[in-house]
């Protein structure tokens, strides 16, 4: 499986600077890079592909279900060339445009069967300008959306804005579980951004931190966490996710969880989803820590705080009856 990561961030935040620095790392030099703003790109890389920003909306008009047909075609073409031996790469890095919503990109990576059979989503890294980020997020919903969907938040230009406490607090409200890292001119070990984000320990950390933030924030974003001591019957999971998608899908930004399933309590099930699109359930060989409780965290807007827990409880009760 080829790991694929998304680098996003608002206009001028420093995405290309980061990408250039990442590609100088020998372990990442052999990456395929897909960008969509290459007209003014100062990037010199052997395997550079472009992808137009055309969104192909589906009939239901759901923005997150818009497929990035251009991105899919670019990736499929790359894979074909890789198979034929015309190009070699071991990783894909996608740099979005500054105004892009990462959700359709993730949707394409997850839902296109040709891409999903050969790629796995590794991380979404959102670059935030330390100097202008707070104002940008306040003014532009796109910037807030990019921060909310991040696995890693990277503050750029911290040499120009040494005091980032307010910005960090703002980002922690939007996405409390994403570690906030700092870099000047993209100087950061790339593994801290990409590989580390895909490890089970990263999920554990995200859940631990986010679960303590169950509250409605000034941004209107709510973090809702569910903790279960007892294992959850396996049959409940698809019903719960179906109900969640059907009734709260458009209000749900992100869902992550580690579940102790009654039928296989030693192998935790990992849930990841962006809006109502879910990664296939991943089964870990073992728990990442001694804490074996089921934990589920939802980030959304307009979802009553106790609705998901009440729904889960009702479905559990039905399964046990």
């Amino acid at each position: 499986m080829i790991p694929v990561s998304v680098i996003t961030g608002f206009l001028g935040s420093g995405k290309t600077t980061l990408l250039s620095a990442v590609l100088r790392d020998p372990a990442y030099a052999g990456s395929a890079v897909i960008v969509n703003e290459w007209g003014d790109l100062g990037l010199d890389h052997e395997l550079l592909e472009t992808s137009e920003e055309n969104l192909l909306g589906l009939a239901n008009g759901c923005l997150c279900c818009a497929t990035r047909g251009d991105l899919a075609r670019t990736l499929i073409d790359l894979v074909a060339r890789r198979k034929s031996g015309a190009v070699t790469y071991h990783r894909v890095l996608i740099e979005t445009s500054g105004l892009a919503d990462p959700a359709p990109i993730l949707h394409t990576l997850l839902m296109d069967p040709t891409i999903a059979e050969s790629h796995r989503v590794e991380a979404v890294v959102t670059v935030v300008d330390a100097l202008l980020g707070a104002e940008t997020i306040a003014r532009h919903p796109e910037a807030a959306q990019q921060a909310m969907l991040a696995d890693r938040l990277l503050l750029s230009k911290t040499d120009l804005a040494p005091d980032v406490a307010a910005l960090e607090a703002q980002l922690a409200e939007l996405n409390p579980g994403a570690p906030i890292l700092r870099a000047v001119q993209g100087a950061i070990p790339p593994d801290m951004l990409f590989a580390a984000a895909a490890r089970p320990e990263a999920l554990q950390h995200w859940l631990d931190v986010t679960a303590t933030q169950s509250a409605r924030h000034s941004s209107g974003v709510e973090t809702i966490s569910i903790l279960r001591e007892d294992p959850i019957p396996g049959v409940v999971l698809p019903l719960f996710l179906e109900a969640l998608a059907e009734h709260a899908g458009e209000k749900l930004l992100r869902i992550k969880g580690i579940i102790r399933v009654a039928e296989a309590p030693e192998k935790p099930a990992v849930l990841h989803g962006v809006r109502h699109v879910l990664h296939p359930i991943q089964w870990l060989e073992d728990w990442p820590s001694a804490d074996r409780r089921s934990r589920l965290v939802l980030i959304g807007q307009g979802i009553p705080q106790w609705w998901p827990a009440r729904l889960l409880e009702a479905l559990e009760e039905e399964a046990r009856a």
Binding site: E246, H247, E250, H276, L278, P280, P304, W307, L315
Partner: protein, 94 residues
């Protein structure tokens, strides 16, 4: 599921769907009042299995085999469905 828990879940569901209404405990379930519309949700009797719930209006009794089905029926009955409800979409397995 006891009536207070049912009432809480239904009341939260109305909020989620943007429906202003009142949910009271009544008989073996709850009564939902939205302007002139009154609906009842009651738990099905054990002998009615696999049905678990009834959604009752003045003109119709609609069964549901799970909470998932009940919420779907209720939302439909209230006319609170979105044009194209989102379905859970699970990405292709590796």
């Amino acid at each position: 599921m006891n009536p207070p828990a049912l009432r809480a879940l239904i009341a939260d569901s109305l909020t989620l769907w943007g429906v202003a209404g009142r949910v009271d405990i009544a008989d073996l379930g709850v009564r939902i009042t939205i302007n002139d519309l009154v609906l009842h949700v009651t738990q099905a009797a054990p002998e009615e299995a696999p049905m678990r719930w009834w959604l009752i209006s003045e003109t119709r009794r609609r069964p549901a085999a799970s909470m998932l089905g009940l919420l779907r029926s209720l939302r439909y009955a209230l006319g609170a469905t979105s044009a194209e409800p989102a379905r859970a979409r699970v990405a292709a397995p590796p």
